[in-house]
């Protein structure tokens, strides 16, 4: 280890550190501007000049390797002078704006430190006039004022090295050098993803958050977890008097560091949107105690107080229970809500209502993953952590995941893996998604042919004996059957099914099998098929075949879509399991929960006697048929997100009594009888569990809007009201509903859920990073699953065969439609359609269509088109794009009513997981 003297301190440091890093570790401050610890050093601002005995002249500390025996001086009159000179020179070009977007910036702080005056405008003839137009780019999120720019190029490096997007560069030379987007276009035209990294790293405010301009200085800042996708980024909510003024990077964030995506950083304004529900509402006929006959329109809304609303809900549900049965009530939980809320809602269903009819939208995204992985390895969750994949994999296989749009920060980490470590990346996707630009190989298979493709890759692997014999012998079972089943999947045979050439299949197999560890990553492109479970089994087969499980950089890695979809599953918001995947048919689990939740009278409920419940799609269907009488919906939007949504809406229209706990009057609100105003993530405490099983705190930053209440409180109050009306008192140790805060709820979860046994808010507040299983208070959690042994003991190979999708194109409906999400929107769009910035970039449904198809149909770029299937019609704007190949069109599911793709999709279900085949249906496209 090199030892050097910095000023008078003897400093020891790791080989490869720079003098600046060595000094920083020692607590010695050397002024810097172009340097940032996350970015590669460029040594161009020349603020950090120091003196080293063995080198003539001054030298930049940020680029100088620390070497043994160096004697470094960091402070002297001469340095002060040269730093003052650098500041002076920079301030020549820097124009302080009249109104700073945020407080004192880094440049101004150093100027103050070295007592160099900042000129507010050009009062010097040598300076010349304002050089650049103020606010020169039309990006809705990032404001550009190059008059503040000091050309440190941090923004350029952040875009390249952190985001992997290469939008920014430097144009021109000498003093005319300036930051440009693309070849001097606008940022969006240069393919900016508006992640805001450039602004976050800018030391002067030349690039800044537009939403922050003109806002007051925040009076507090609360670290919390993003409410959008399952990556689970953390950031600081900056608040002034109960108003969010901005989201700022939280450099210590475990998953994402300074990175965020456009939704996380700039999509928070929905919290303050005027549509927010502020008071409880009940339909007048319900208030009058009148039942609506089937087919009758719902009456108008009446605003009520909370006591009335809760009593109406409690009485109606008790009535249904008594007149029909507890199983006539169903609960749709929410992957947007916290773990604590999900725990409570399934407890409400099971303990208070007395039914296992509880499910949530994981059914629609990853139920096939959970089912498939449970069968193969015993745990339905992502086996590895995003960081170990990004930093240690030797190859990457991304199939059916548009990672850079759906899990943007992880997508950026994958791009970094390719850029920094040259990791070979194989992308299998029917569309030419952005990530393919970074791919060694893009396999463009036909939608719905995943099993064939994966089997083909395994076939080649086996023929070349690339499989991991020791791993298979020691840790797996069913290998012989697998081998037999793969025999027919020769590359030539697979090529016919998938449309991928035999050569590419061989190449893919070689890349994936000979570079280990290899991580396999998937999302809804794999799961949303009638063969979803089989797709997942095939991927598990591949990873076991290659011995890529239980090691960093490998694994089976389903990316969970919503912020807390992992947690909602973990908390047992599923019809067949209690929290922690304890089966509702397992005697010991039944015993445990019956005891814990026991009440003075059972009000007709005996957990041991009720069978597993209905899934989301089944509940909607049953409500339509009135087999299900009461539906309690927490923060879900089935009218938008169910496949064949015309039918779903019909069912909801018929449903007898529907309660919706929501923050907005969503599409589903039209079909409900009571609306209970809940709160957004910014207004409550709790935890989310991200896609890699990391439990993270959500912290209240502002009080609830209006009369809205944190959802956990609403659920607890309803439970108390029903218990009161049914004369039940709590007996079991966890039967009561008195929670002082959400930490207490997590305490109850931990007592009853072995995989969460060691999770507590206290530990999280201390900064501990916990990925379940966390076995007890001292256990540090489990970043990687299946180390040494599979959760189910031996890993099980399953022979799976290719089956075509349910609906294939024909002469009436000649095109295949596949659906998905886009960067700027999320889920049914309830939140993102209420964010001004997001809407300004992506205001309407676009239908991606190949130019040759479009020309044949007389469709131009931007024409309005009608897309019809056997089930319904949607309208959208055509976007001629090489992302889809001929014969395939792509639509997103973020927009309501006539532009909802789910008017068209098919409700064909996977037989095991009951997941609908959102990814494939046959359509006809015409100009409207």
């Amino acid at each position: 280890m090199p030892q050097l003297t910095i000023n008078d301190d003897l400093v020891e440091c790791r080989v490869g550190l720079t003098v600046l890093e060595a000094a920083t570790r020692q607590g010695i401050v050397i002024p810097t501007l172009c340097h940032h610890a996350d970015l590669s050093p460029v040594g161009s601002c020349r603020m950090c000049l120091v003196e080293v005995d063995s080198i003539d002249g001054q030298v930049a500390a940020c680029t100088l390797q620390a070497e043994d025996g160096m004697r470094v001086r960091t402070e002297s009159d001469a340095f002060a002078k040269s730093r003052r000179m650098v500041l002076q020179l920079l301030l020549r070009r820097y124009r302080r704006p009249d109104k700073l977007a945020a407080g004192e910036n880094e440049l101004e702080r150093w100027a103050r430190h070295y007592d160099v005056p900042i000129l507010s405008s050009s009062n010097d003839e040598l300076l010349g006039a304002t050089r650049y137009p103020i606010d020169s780019d039309d990006n809705p999120f990032i404001r550009v004022d190059l008059n503040q720019c000091i050309l440190c190029t941090r923004c350029v490096r952040a875009c390249e090295e952190i985001q992997g997007r290469f939008v920014l560069g430097v144009g021109d030379r000498g003093e005319h050098s300036h930051i440009v987007a693309g070849a001097g276009t606008s940022m969006l035209d240069a393919r900016c993803e508006s992640c805001g990294a450039c602004a976050a790293y800018c030391p002067t405010g030349a690039l800044s958050d537009r939403m922050r301009v003109g806002q007051p200085e925040p009076d507090r800042s609360v670290v919390t977890t993003c409410s959008y996708c399952g990556v689970g980024c953390q950031f600081r909510l900056e608040v002034k008097q109960d108003q969010i003024v901005s989201v700022a990077s939280h450099p210590e964030a475990a998953v994402n560091g300074m990175s965020l995506c456009v939704k996380g950083r700039y999509g928070w304004d929905y919290v303050h949107h005027r549509d927010r529900l502020l008071v409880p509402r009940v339909r007048s006929h319900v208030l009058d105690g009148r039942l609506r006959s089937a087919g009758e329109e719902r009456s108008g809304w009446v605003d009520v107080d909370w006591d009335t609303a809760l009593e109406v809900v409690a009485r109606n549900l008790i009535r249904i229970k008594q007149e029909h049965s507890a199983n006539a009530i169903g609960v749709l939980s929410s992957a947007k809500c916290t773990n604590e809320e999900n725990y409570l809602i399934q407890k409400l269903a099971r303990q208070v209502f007395g039914t296992h009819n509880v499910d949530h939208c994981a059914r629609l995204c990853h139920s096939s993953t959970v089912a498939g992985l449970s069968m193969a390895v015993g745990s339905g969750a992502m086996s590895n952590s995003m960081r170990d994949i990004a930093e240690q994999s030797q190859a990457l296989f991304v199939i059916g995941s548009n990672t850079t749009e759906q899990h943007p920060v992880f997508g950026a980490m994958l791009r970094q893996a390719v850029l920094r470590r040259n990791v070979p990346l194989v992308v299998a996707d029917p569309r030419r998604i952005d990530l393919t630009e970074f791919a060694t190989l893009h396999l463009r298979h036909r939608p719905g042919t995943d099993v064939a493709l994966i089997n083909g890759i395994m076939h080649v692997t086996l023929i070349n004996k690339w499989h991991d014999v020791t791993f298979i012998d020691k840790r797996c079972e069913g290998f012989a059957e697998l081998c037999a089943s793969l025999e027919i999947y020769s590359p030539e045979y697979v090529a016919k099914i998938t449309g991928v050439s035999a050569l590419q299949i061989r190449e893919a197999a070689e890349i994936l099998a000979t570079n280990r560890p290899m991580a396999t990553i998937w999302a809804m492109g794999i799961t949303q098929h009638t063969t979803g479970v089989m797709n997942v089994l095939a991927l598990a087969n591949l990873q076991m075949l290659l011995g890529n499980l239980g090691i960093p950089g490998g694994g089976v890695n389903p990316l969970r879509g919503q912020n807390n979809v992992q947690g909602a599953c973990d908390m047992g918001a599923l019809p067949n399991v209690f929290p922690g995947y304890q089966s509702v048919t397992d005697a010991a689990a039944l015993q445990k929960f019956s005891e814990a939740w026991r009440c003075s009278n059972d009000a007709g409920v005996d957990l041991r006697e009720i069978s597993a419940g209905l899934t989301v799609t089944e509940m909607i269907e049953a409500a339509g048929q009135r087999g299900l009488r009461g539906l309690y919906i927490l923060g879900e939007d089935p009218a938008m997100t169910e496949p064949d949504s015309n039918h779903a809406r019909e069912c909801l229209t018929n449903a007898e009594f529907v309660v919706l706990q929501e923050i907005f009057p969503s599409e589903t609100a039209r079909y409900c009888d009571v609306l209970l105003p809940g709160t957004s993530f910014a207004e409550k405490d709790g935890t989310f569990t991200n896609t890699e099983r990391r439990v993270q705190l959500v912290r209240q930053a502002i009080p609830p809007m209006g009369d809205a209440r944190p959802d956990w409180k609403i659920i607890a109050q309803l439970a108390q009201e029903m218990m009161r009306l049914e004369n039940r008192t709590s007996v079991g140790p966890d039967a009561a509903w008195q929670y002082a805060d959400t930490g207490e709820i997590m305490g109850e979860v931990a007592r009853l859920t072995p995989i969460y046994a060691g999770v507590s808010h206290h530990r999280l507040i201390q900064g501990e990073q916990l990925q379940w299983p966390v076995r007890d208070e001292r256990h540090e959690g489990t970043p990687i699953l299946h180390v040494g042994e599979f959760t189910r003991g031996k890993g099980r190979f399953h022979a799976v065969d290719y089956l075509p999708p349910q609906e294939v194109p024909d002469s009436l409906f000649p095109l295949v439609m596949t659906t998905g999400r886009v960067l700027y929107h999320w889920h049914g769009g309830e939140l993102t359609r209420r964010s001004t910035g997001l809407m300004s970039v992506y205001p309407e449904t676009l239908l991606e269509i190949d130019a040759s198809d479009a020309h044949r149909l007389g469709i131009g770029d931007g024409s309005m088109v009608r897309v019809s299937s056997r089930r319904g019609v949607m309208v959208a704007k055509a976007h001629l794009s090489a992302r889809v190949f001929p014969g395939v069109v792509f639509g997103n599911f973020h927009f309501p009513a006539a532009s909802n793709v789910n008017n068209v999709t098919i409700a064909a279900l996977d037989p095991i997981a009951k997941i609908p085949e959102f990814k494939v249906c046959a359509v006809r496209v015409e100009r409207c």
Binding site: C45, A60, P117, D124, R173, G174
Partner: protein, 457 residues
């Protein structure tokens, strides 16, 4: 002491001026590529490096770094490729010796390049030529074609089994692309922003692989040393100073570019160490129009300025340094006669550097621009004496030598400033007095500079 020029015969330029000098057949008729064949047959790469070391050849691109030593910095037994870059970006004002060689005798350069690649075990060479040399470019392409057809390049150079490809690359008109790491970045398709050194190109160069960068004239000298021997080479020039162990001497012939106010501007070959007087009078036919010289730049504008009474300065690697200049640079001498205003000269120089600064380092980007603004102001009749100190302060602080910048461009900008003002201060003062009689004495600081000139607190 002046060099005796009575027996001076051009070697590097010996073939120039004949109509077919650029063709392979003409070159071969003069024994071209025979030296190469001999080396490939009889010498190991190490032997060739030793030969060049023995010759004490120093780089002709500006810095005068010993060529053999540079080659020996390459890692031994490097497993991957080693690259060679031929620096033909020749952009230093007043410099055109590379151009003459490339236009009139491209095969001499190519033979030297092949020899240099053989010595350094490079299997790929990039020939980086500035955009503004269309004739040289055409002749290079043609010469390369001839070489490939004749088996002089490609899989087996002259049947020796040594494999070499030369890729011609055309720059896009920026001075900074001549700086070796700027050239490398540009070759990689990026902005020519010079890299921080270390690592030097020999360790990490093109595509992060060990790389040698040499000037066109340097490799031409290699070819001549191979043909004529070390003794011939060392018989020319100025021997090493025995009192200075770090002085490798200035041996061999040099192509001097003479321009400006002389009767016969041109590119002249002479042994290193002739004086400015000799160059101007013997070769250039004296100052034009019977005028007197006022000043000259000794080796490209970056090197600074010599006054007329300093024309006894010997133009070897050490000479100009003894006269307060930066060095020999590219040995491009530009003569200015008595009619030239030093204010105009300096303004012109400042304009060049402000325009060519790549924009990366604060002191260079802002310092060159600031100097230019001040000179514009002086020329606009609003100069004040105080400005001269500020200009000097910029000159003294920017550059790789004080350590405030990444590359040497800023030093190049600094030397004309320092030399012009220190050597011709009275002219600047008179100019200000004349053009700004009411304000020239004003001493209050320019607002933007106040805290700097007040110094440390």
């Amino acid at each position: 002491m002046e060099i005796d020029l009575t027996n001076n015969t051009p070697v590097l330029l010996s073939r120039i001026g004949r109509p077919e000098s650029h063709t392979l057949s003409d070159y071969r008729a003069d024994g071209g590529y025979e030296g190469l064949a001999r080396v490939l047959r009889d010498m190991k790469p190490e032997d060739l490096i030793q030969l060049i070391k023995d010759s004490s050849l120093r780089g002709r691109g500006g810095a005068g770094f010993p060529t053999g030593l540079k080659w020996s910095f390459l890692p031994k037994d490097h497993p991957g490729p080693i690259y060679f870059c031929l620096n033909a970006d020749e952009s230093e004002p007043g410099t055109f010796n590379n151009r003459i060689l490339m236009e009139e005798d491209p095969h001499q350069v190519i033979e030297g390049l092949i020899l240099a690649c053989y010595a350094t075990r490079s299997v790929t060479a990039y020939y980086y030529m500035r955009y503004e040399y269309p004739r040289a470019w055409e002749r290079l392409l043609k010469a390369l074609d001839e070489c490939y057809s004749a088996g002089i390049l490609g899989k087996s150079v002259l049947g020796s089994g040594f494999c070499l490809d030369i890729f011609p690359h055309r720059g896009a008109a920026a001075y900074i692309c001549g700086e070796e790491t700027g050239l490398i970045e540009s070759l990689e398709g990026k902005r020519a922003w010079p890299r921080i050194k270390p690592p030097f190109p020999a360790v990490e160069g093109v595509f992060r692989k060990p790389t040698v960068v040499n000037n066109v004239e340097t490799v031409a000298c290699v070819k001549q040393i191979v043909d004529r021997g070390v003794d011939w080479f060392k018989s020319l020039g100025v021997p090493a100073d025995p009192k200075n162990p770090r002085d490798p001497g200035s041996y061999g012939p040099k192509l001097y570019c003479l321009s400006g106010h002389v009767e016969r501007p041109g590119c002249y070959e002479a042994p290193l160490g002739i004086t400015v007087h000799q160059l101007v009078d013997h070769f250039g036919g004296g100052v034009w129009k019977n005028r007197h010289a006022k000043a000259a730049i000794p080796g490209g504008i970056s090197m600074g300025l010599l006054k007329a009474d300093e024309f006894d300065c010997p133009l070897d690697f050490a000479g100009p340094g003894r006269y307060g200049c930066l060095g020999l640079g590219t040995a491009a001498v530009v003569v200015m006669d008595e009619t030239v205003s030093m204010v105009d000269f300096l303004h012109n120089s400042a304009r060049f550097f402000a325009h060519e600064s790549c924009g990366q380092c604060t002191p260079c980007r802002e310092g060159t621009a600031w100097a230019l603004r001040m000179l514009e102001r002086i020329r606009a009749g609003r100069g004040r004496l105080k400005d001269l100190d500020l200009l000097l302060e910029i000159g003294d602080t920017i550059g790789i030598m004080p350590g405030t910048t990444i590359c040497g461009l800023a030093d190049g900008a600094a030397w004309p400033l320092k030399n012009a003002i220190r050597k011709f201060r009275s002219e600047f003062e008179e100019y200000m007095q004349r053009t700004n009689p009411s304000g020239y004495q004003q001493t209050d600081a320019v607002p933007a500079l106040s805290s700097l000139s007040h110094g440390g607190h």
